[in-house]
Symmetry: C2
């Protein structure tokens, strides 16, 4: 940086060009109660003409341009920018920032502009100002190619200080290094980062395009559904909201499921809503008690129709800078996903599929393999980690074995294929020559690869290897291998889920795999009477890069079938859903829909590590708003109208007395 020559050049330029600098500084001293207001309003109640631009980001504004838009085309124009002081450089430049970027403001050096110079040089970082000046080309060699506005600078002619930044909890440039708690407490500062600005704007744009697609292209109706609803019996994850009627509570619903179906019964035909949903996950870490879903429901449609709609919507709304999206998306059955990836939301950005070795070992003499195969649903499965033998350390291998043991109660057999093709494995001596050959050929293992082999029930072995597959991908990447393209977006439909699953606490009984409103697959309908556990549902999950970002189904639209599922299969009291059953019997059309998790979708799109990075004011890990301190105490007096009182846990019902019985 040739500062000297730069300053010389400036002097020459100044000498050549007379500036008519008007200088109006607001009274910014700390002693006055408030500074001269920004800009006098017209005194009459009829107002003056709005600012020059009538559309675009600077319409109706004090500025003529944003801080990110000036280019060499604008040279010679008089412009007005508003923004924050990013930093000052050597009493020569003020770098001004707004949401759109940075612009360099040149501080006039000539004597006639002494007041302006002093005011500019005295600006505290993060103060908010308006600068009027002329766009100049930067002197040759002084361009900044890394800065979109790096070809130009603004020669300041006028400054208005809107607000002096008096107090920052820390230097802005130190901000990223601070604890997340501090960044959450000063969320309004964290949001000033270009990354957060981009995330919020991309989210807004994405949602806007989705709306255009649904409303304008396909005739959907945006309908708002209530969030003060009736509590679902047993809905342990629903927040309660006391009403002023003693003992009566609203609840905040986890989704508008019932309402969207009722809208179909109501003949609304095509409904969508960007819906706020609530889930009280209590002590679970990293929870957001409120989240947003893109909620869609259609009448007279089948599974293929909903899938095509969602593909079209994502293609239409996909941010241009992320490259075009190919449709249709890949489709995989639940069984295929479990078989090949050991999980119902496979990350298909890389291969490393599960390999069934049961046949290889069908007549093995190895005792633990024989015993595994003889058990119910017994199987021998493996994954082959490319160059895993080469790159994984002993510690890596221990971690994998430990995961198997701790999370799945399962032993893992490792086979390392040395560069010379020989094996290193506890199994080595036990394997026959044909077994070894079959194993390597079946697994397509090459020198340097690592085989992870698990033997046992498919119910354990598949999820185990599905988990290790992802862990191995992370390990390989931590060793510098690129396995998953961070700019790739692999969408995948998973279909043909079982409609019911055995209850965790009582495997004799069945639970809905998703929810009790999912329709069975047509050809499985008869099984509902005989073998309900074999019925597949018309349910579809949408997976992106191994994250489940949505799920939906064709719903049951016949009251008789819905009643059978509730009463005979799920053993639930159907009277709790009587209004829905009644609605189905009043002329319900065939219908189906989907809900996409917007926060998760956007976080994958922008590559954020947490959904907190795509939410303006997220709750902390523990569900707190660290800025305003919510949740907070409320006095017993203020609780009175709601006919509730606090039961402090230390008292253990002692003092509180009759609460429980009074509740009857």
């Amino acid at each position: 940086m040739s500062l000297r020559s730069r300053m010389l050049l400036q002097r020459v330029l100044f000498a050549l060009k007379a500036h008519n600098v008007r200088y109006r500084q607001t009274s910014g001293a700390g002693s006055v109660l408030w500074e001269t207001p920004v800009r006098p309003l017209c005194c009459s109640n009829r107002r003056h003409a709005p600012a020059p631009a009538s559309t675009g980001p600077s319409s109706l504004s004090f500025r003529s341009h944003t801080c990110g838009e000036l280019r060499s085309d604008h040279v010679g124009q008089k412009v007005t920018l508003c923004g924050w002081v990013q930093y000052l450089r050597q009493d020569l430049f003020v770098i001004l920032r707004d949401f759109s970027g940075l612009t360099q403001v040149l501080i006039p050096q000539e004597e006639s502009a002494n007041n302006l110079k002093a005011a500019l040089c005295g600006l505290a970082v993060e103060s908010v100002v308006k600068v009027t000046g002329t766009v100049r080309k930067r002197p040759a060699g002084q361009e900044n190619k890394l800065m979109p506005t790096g070809e130009i600078e603004i020669l300041a002619q006028n400054l208005e200080v809107f607000n002096i930044c008096r107090k920052l909890p820390f230097e802005m440039k130190e901000f990223v290094k601070k604890s997340e708690a501090l960044r959450m407490q000063y969320r309004y500062l964290a949001l000033r980062s270009s990354q957060m600005q981009k995330n919020l704007r991309l989210r807004s744009q994405l949602v806007m395009k989705m709306r255009e697609y649904l409303c304008n292209v396909h005739g959907f109706v945006d309908v708002e559904t209530p969030t003060l609803f009736k509590r679902t019996p047993g809905g342990a994850k629903e927040f309660v909201v006391p009403s002023r009627e003693p003992g009566l509570f609203y609840s905040l619903p986890q989704s508008p499921q019932q309402f969207k179906q009722l809208l179909m019964v109501a003949g609304v035909d095509r409904y969508f809503q960007i819906a706020r949903c609530y889930r009280d996950e209590g002590s679970k870490p990293d929870r957001q008690p409120e989240f947003t879903q893109v909620d869609i429901e259609m009448s007279f449609v089948d599974q293929a129709g909903i899938m095509a709609l969602v593909e079209g919507m994502l293609q239409f709304s996909w941010p241009a800078e992320k490259g075009p999206l190919q449709v249709p998306f890949q489709v995989m059955t639940y069984n295929e996903a479990m078989r090949d990836y050991g999980v119902d939301k496979p990350d298909t950005r890389f291969n490393m599929k599960l390999i069934d070795l049961s046949e290889v070992f069908s007549s093995t003499k190895i005792e633990f393999l024989r015993s595994a195969l003889s058990q119910s649903e017994g199987s021998i499965q493996a994954i082959c980690v490319p160059s895993g033998a080469k790159h994984f350390t002993g510690k890596d291998l221990d971690v994998l074995k430990q995961t198997a043991k701790a999370q799945f109660g399962q032993e893992l057999s490792l086979v390392l294929v040395r560069d010379d093709g020989t094996l290193k494995s506890p199994l080595k001596k036990l394997l026959s020559v044909p077994e070894t050959e079959n194993l390597l050929s079946r697994a397509e293992a090459k020198p340097g690869d690592l085989l992870l082999i698990a033997a046992g029930s498919l119910r354990v072995v598949l999820p185990l290897l599905g988990n290790l597959r992802l862990q191995c991908a992370q390990l390989l990447e931590s060793h510098g291998l690129s396995l998953r393209d961070p700019s790739a977006f692999h969408f995948l439909w998973v279909v043909d889920f079982p409609l019911f699953l055995p209850k965790e606490d009582n495997p004799e009984e069945l639970d809905s795999a998703h929810h009790p409103f999912t329709a069975p697959r047509t050809e499985d309908t008869d099984l509902l009477l005989s073998e309900p556990h074999k019925v597949r549902g018309q349910h579809y999950d949408l997976v992106l890069n191994g994250c489940e970002i949505g799920g939906g189904s064709i719903r049951i639209h016949k009251a008789s079938l819905q009643l059978h599922v509730l009463k005979n299969i799920l053993k639930e009291d159907p009277s709790l859903l009587s209004h829905l059953l009644e609605a189905l019997d009043s002329g319900a059309p065939p219908h189906g829909g989907i809900a996409l998790g917007l926060d998760r979708l956007v976080s994958v799109v922008v590559g954020a590590s947490s959904i907190r990075d795509v939410i303006a004011f997220p709750k902390s890990f523990r569900g707190h708003d660290l800025m305003s301190h919510a949740p907070d105490t409320v006095s017993e007096e203020e609780l009175k109208p709601y006919h509730i009182s606090i039961k402090w846990p230390t008292e253990q019902r002692g003092g509180g007395g009759g609460g429980g019985s009074a509740g009857k």
Copy 2:
């Protein structure tokens, strides 16, 4: 209706044209558990091609057209419609309905179609079916001009019954006559009416256009703000939401006010949100505990900018069928509105302004008028009701006097101008000749008019006459006079409100007229120290046909000024808003915004008498969801995780014991 000739014509037509009727009826008998599912899904997990249309209201659907779109252009086309059986006519026609309208389906009469005929004739009203057939021109003379599809009918060739409507609580055509409670309980049936379908669709369209205007035209960012927030101290109208941490509560905010301002501090520049807001109005009737506002905030803008933005937004999004909207809207100061209309949200669709008669009676001998004028802010005001003397009955006049007495504690003097120009009034004998002449000329009273005169403090007299003005308009209209054009939309800005008002319970102290974040008008800023009650705020209300549909302000962006208002003027504890004060001190830009009440706006646009008619699932008059029965009881067991218990009012704290003290 020449039914005979019609049937004859049909026979001829059928004889001329051979129909290849395929007939597939689903097993609709009540004895089977469920009927054959709608449409077999492709067996493979790869799906079949979507339905013909790829965009529009019938895209991806079982139907080819909606029930409202077929015209004579479509004659000869084979179409598929899906919808509800509106009614059957003489075993000849099924009238099919969907959201878009009605289509007449002709039942084939030839013998070869006996099965199809039987199925169609046996359809229960409100059953859901798919009909395939050919579009025919209706026989000459049989067209229905009142029906958009009245030129055509569909000759049915195939029927699929999706769902039989087995049970309706009442006949659909009787529905409008039923009690609102019943219509709320069966909301999904009420929503099938063409009016409700129109209302929901117009609302969706209006919001979509607003979003396009804000996002696409002016670069606004749609940001979602939390609804689980910290309770505002003293925020009696905020619902509380217990958390799982003992004694800690979230609250549901009445508006995103704090968040929108923090977003400006965060540099988001232009924010909007169609925001769900909550207000617990307890025992107030006709309340909606949740409602929706169009929430807007902008940086680097003044009052004129926000007003121009809103005008542009409404013009852009205005439904075409309501005629174009003229901008800019009329602007009126608060003082002008009170002076001329006696209210801060004048209905400017009609004149009948308040008339100041103080001068007319400045030297009157009439005792009660003299005494009124001599009191502080004493005044004599009137309205002249055109042809009120002619049309109002004695009972009408009594009602007006009673309103004055009961609601305002004020006597009202009536002067009826007879057709011959003579007066009928208790005042008649007391008025001098010049007074009478002045009165009539000042009031521009013509024969047949009615003068309502009130004398007293302006604080009472203006609101009284403002109220009577509206009541007189209603009375005139009830007598068949058209005063307000029901298709007219009069938008009006009311500006220059006082920033503070005397507290109702303690007039010595001041309260914010709107909220404590409103900036004072520039020229009034100095009065904040000396005479705060004289300060006008940079606040603006948007009024439509006499309804307040929005309000906003330029906000205080200096911490020092905000602190002064909170602490010295409003006498509030500023520590409760410390995060906001801290934010203002960290570089807050000048900013302002507005919030429009979406439910109210839409209800005025569609001419609905209640906002319940523009909300899909509103709460009842008492805040209940009559369909699902919310709010509902929750067991003490389910309240346990929230550390609260119910205090039953009959127990009067007796049995419950320590609740109150335990809370300390």
